[in-house]
Symmetry: C2
Amino acid sequence: MKNKIGIIADSFLFKGLPEAQLAEVARIAKEKKLGRGEAVFFEDDPASGFYMVAEGRVKIFKVSMGGKEQILHVFGPGEPFGEVAVFHGQPFPANAATLVRSTLLYFPRQEFVRLVTANPSLALNMIAMLSLRLRRFANQIENLSLKEVPGRLASYLRYLAEEQARDDRVVLDLPKGQLASLLGTSPETLSRIFARMSEEGLIRVQGKTIHLLDMERLRER
Amino acid sequence: MKNKIGIIADSFLFKGLPEAQLAEVARIAKEKKLGRGEAVFFEDDPASGFYMVAEGRVKIFKVSMGGKEQILHVFGPGEPFGEVAVFHGQPFPANAATLVRSTLLYFPRQEFVRLVTANPSLALNMIAMLSLRLRRFANQIENLSLKEVPGRLASYLRYLAEEQARDDRVVLDLPKGQLASLLGTSPETLSRIFARMSEEGLIRVQGKTIHLLDMERLRER
DNA sequence: AGTTGCCATTGACCTAGGTCAAAAATATTT
DNA sequence: AAATATTTTTGACCTAGGTCAATGGCAACT
């Protein structure tokens, strides 16, 4: 397992920082270990700092009055989250919880803002980070509003295929129930869609492994 | 009507820049006048620069295969758009078109990136801008996925009330059809919801003016 | 091996809201 | 003002997908 400074040095956010700065960043970062399913923070909590995943996976999500969850994003090793709130001094806009046992790095607000202000390259990295995230959100809005559930699933499978660099099969990186939350649907419906797409010969489902039998038609969904 | 430098100096993005820089910014900005309903750019167009609204209103939107529109955001005077693409050198992630006759400022990519790199305060403004936008998008995802149409409408009305600083009535800043696109529904459904909420005594609709008769219950939607 | 608990699947039912078509109300042009 | 075009509203119908409840798998623990 990597140590603090390894994670930091390899992260996109801190890429290109001089050694001295990296050490400085590592110094202000506090390690936090959390078990599976533990909350990191809640919506409307005051944001005294932000986090980076060192190990594990963290979901950012909103909850409806009725208790339904919508996952906004899932973060893995090297990815920062909660930074948005840090810059306004506003409370966190959503909840965060671990999906598996995880190790996080915590960066207190003050010192980080100071670093960014002093470090143009860090500021540019941050801008790139936020831009990418905006693009993802725009995509998610498109998916939720303009596609039905099968289309959203297909879109996610293609995303996984890209990420895992295969076009014959992918491995789900989430339990199916959580995937339903990410796609904005219920576990029951997701299950039915899996069944239907299997019958249609589009995919074959084997536990968490999904065989992609027809990329062409998958693209049209 | 304000001139170029007036718009720039008063914008959030360029706030706090020294005089000289402002003049420099104004120098690289090109004015562009567009009639109502004209396209500014299309999704996947190469992004050679970004825009700021000087006068009028511009919608950013995605279009489904079937032709349905989802508006991501509507920008008014002083607000920049299309900057996200500029930082990656990636194509635009969505379409942009005017809602009314508008005047825009166009900033070519190269020179703007140079400015941001050289100007920490501009970079910080940009970060704040993007953060705010992320927050809005997160909200929109929440609305689309976790609320039904009446809830989304109520949420928008409250947003307008805040923006227009009144709590008795608001004036729609969009034709109803466009509002439907923004809320992720159809004009027909929106019309029905207006009718229903009127019967329930929540609001009274008078053309583009919506009287807010019961803020309490409106909040619970 | 048996028990406990969790997750995934399947069935039955119901409703929010989409679609299509027509009418009515507003704008815009001549 | 008349004529035409554009929005908005209303009605009738239909379906994607949500909810509730029951059942089946599977893993962890004793």
